[in-house]
Amino acid sequence: MKKDRTPSLLLATLVALLILGLVLPEWRFLGTLAIGKGLTVLGLLLLLRTGLVSFGQGLYYCLGAYAAGTLGQFWGTTDALLLLVVAGLAAGLAAAILGILLAAYRGIFFSMLSLALSMILYGLLVKSAALGSTDGFNLPAPTLFGLPLVSHDSRYPLFVLACVLGVAAALAMHYYFRTPLGRLSPAIRDNEIRVEYLGASVRAAVHVKYVIAGILAGVGGALTGMTVGHIDPEMAYWTTSGEFVFVAILSGTGSVAAPFLGSFIFELVRTFAYEYSPNSWQLALGTAMLLIIVFLPAGLWSLVQRRRA
């Protein structure tokens, strides 16, 4: 069997990122942001490989951010790791409960139900004046073991944390896909009957994957919240989830690194599109999406693979 080069490549990427972040300070924010969203898209990639498209990952993205946010805002917790863990747990728990329901659905119904659920959270948050309604609220600057991660002079520490987190998640996902459970993803997408006739429960497997995706979205949301310093219910609105799906398609499911690359390109494109044509950047995004669906069904990553091949 072929030697697995992905882990070494990922670690090399990590080193490269840390150096880049050191020499290009003004890109740290965008980079951190891209990783935060990339984590969410990584979860979406897991679902996509299982043949499921969630139009409601915003639910967990937002939930994670609010879990971290409330902890930071009302209990004054600023330790990034603690906040991220709590966010992951909160989102995971919610996904575990809602998954009982969602694991039974496929295709359009899975997408629509997940969308409806995220819109319900949106409605609840808009209602809750204590959490600032649609204005949301600010997060205190994150720290790690008492050391500040963000200051006027440098956001490098937070960037480092994000990079480590992102690469760790990518590695974990990479290995997960090589476990028997992970291998079920393409199997379920291709043929659920056969999976059942091999003695595995499709529903249980889907449930687990949904929870993993939820946890990743929760952590991603919390990381984004820390980076931006502000969170609001918009994170649960269906267009946010649509954006994640967009990025997932853009990236393609070819590699666990694709979501991060995709998110970064997306943020980059959007920034410049906004700068140069504020009135037609959606038009640009839509066109790009169509082109990719038509010409690169496997996403941008397929370009990278062609290069390798």
Partner: protein
């Protein structure tokens, strides 16, 4: 009083300095952030952008009336970079960083959405860049935190609701049934809560018969209007803006909502040029400050109305006023600092120092940076009633409310002040 003197003196000094260094002076670059797309663009974003363009050009040509007749900022030409505020807070924060890091602007002026203001303020502190909010309404910004680099030249939303309540008390002293219809998001919630508290404090006998909170951009208000009509409310408060307010007027008028009860539209002035006589007589409208039809008859206001109508052939609405006010505020602060700096180009800290507690003239009259340790402006405001005169909707029965009557004193939170002090 002493401050009142300083400004003109400073300006004349600056004028001399200006003419001296006008030539080789580097431009003062301002990032202007307003809605250029999405629902708020029409009613708020575009008028604000127009205002900014107008003022910047006039200042660069030295075509503004006194005390702003000097070119640019103390001789430095003003350069504007426009950014779309649409797209949510996450995007705004990254756009703000781009403005500061890649465009390296000297100051940022903008933000209509309170959510964006809340998100930007701490970033402005982190990036240490002079940032002036011109419109967003939430009092939370300077009441929940204090900032060095952040200023707001527009008054808080609390002022609108309190003044609205005062106006209602004046024109409907015997009203007992009050209702509200506000958008179901922060702006709507805050506006209604302030108004409810204020009206209860001012008119203890009133009862709230219903409070409708339809979804933002819902568009269809048939059921809400029925509910308001059946509630028998004598006064209906609404902070609707833009398309929602216009839809409410269009759908409510034929159903007698505006004749059965006095409807108070706190942002109604923005719709007047567009809807004109479609806004029924007797409707109470505000402009979130002494702007538009409520603006004093001073030179700056005359200049704004004239040049705005000449270029965009429509009356300027309050966003244009507030944007003008913000840029003039920076100019005043800049030139005051320049004067204090012996005519030499002031650094940012000096500008900020002179901005704090500054008192300057705007198209809406005198603006005092009185709250939030000198970072939050207070103004008077006004409300009036719509009347149709030969095919034109005009505002009559206008009442003015001085700043100190409709704003809390320094150090007091708006919501506490509304509940206690108004009694």
């Amino acid at each position: 009083m002493s401050k009142k003197l300083i400004v003109p003196v400073a300006l004349s000094l600056a004028a001399i300095a200006a003419s001296a260094q006008a030539q080789e002076a580097p431009p003062f670059k301002i990032g202007v952030v307003t809605f250029l797309s999405g629902a708020p663009a029409g009613p708020f974003g575009v008028p604000a952008r127009n205002g900014a363009e107008l003022v910047a050009e006039a200042l660069n040509d030295g075509a503004m009336p006194a005390p702003y007749a000097t070119k640019g900022f103390g001789g430095r030409p003003i350069e504007l970079v426009f950014i779309d505020e649409a797209g949510g807070t996450t995007k705004q924060v990254s756009e703000y960083r781009n403005l500061v890091q890649r465009q390296n602007v000297d100051a940022v002026v903008g933000y209509i959405s309170s959510g964006d203001c809340l998100a930007i303020a701490p970033v402005a502190e982190e990036m240490r860049k002079l940032t002036v909010f011109f419109d967003c309404g939430t009092p939370r910004i300077f009441e929940d935190a204090s900032y060095k680099y952040v200023f707001r030249t527009g008054a808080t939303g609390t002022m609108d609701s309190v003044a609205a309540a005062m106006y209602v008390k004046e024109i409907k002293p015997n009203a007992t049934k009050i209702a509200g219809i506000n958008q179901n998001y922060a702006w709507g919630h805050d506006s209604w809560n302030d108004f409810e508290a204020a009206i209860k404090a001012l008119m203890p006998s009133v009862q709230i018969v219903t409070s409708q909170m339809p979804k933002f951009l819902a568009g269809q208000y048939g059921a809400e209007i029925s509910a308001l009509l059946t509630s028998g409310a004598e006064v209906v408060h609404s902070s609707f803006w833009g398309g929602d307010m216009e839809a409410l007027v269009l759908q409510g008028a034929p159903r007698g909502l505006f004749s059965k009860s006095t409807v108070v539209l706190t942002t109604g002035e923005t719709a007047l040029p567009k809807l004109n006589t479609r806004v029924p007589e007797g409707t109470v409208i505000g402009a979130r400050g002494p702007y538009g039809p409520f603006a004093p008859d001073n030179a700056i206001n005359q200049w704004l109305v004239k040049s705005y109508e000449d270029r965009y052939n429509v009356r300027p609405t309050y966003p244009a006023y507030k944007m003008t006010q913000a840029i003039l505020g920076i100019k005043a602060a800049y030139e005051k600092a320049q004067a204090a700096n012996g005519g030499k180009t002031p650094n940012q800290d000096q500008i900020i120092a002179s901005f704090e507690h500054l008192e300057f003239e705007g198209p809406g009259g005198t603006v005092r940076m009185a709250l939030g340790k000198g970072h939050q402006a207070v103004l008077g405001t006004a409300y009036g009633t719509v009347k149709h005169e030969n095919g034109q909707a005009v505002v009559t029965n206008v009442r003015y409310y001085p700043a100190e009557k409709v704003n809390p004193p320094e150090g007091v939170k708006s919501e506490d002040w509304v509940k206690t002090a108004l009694k």
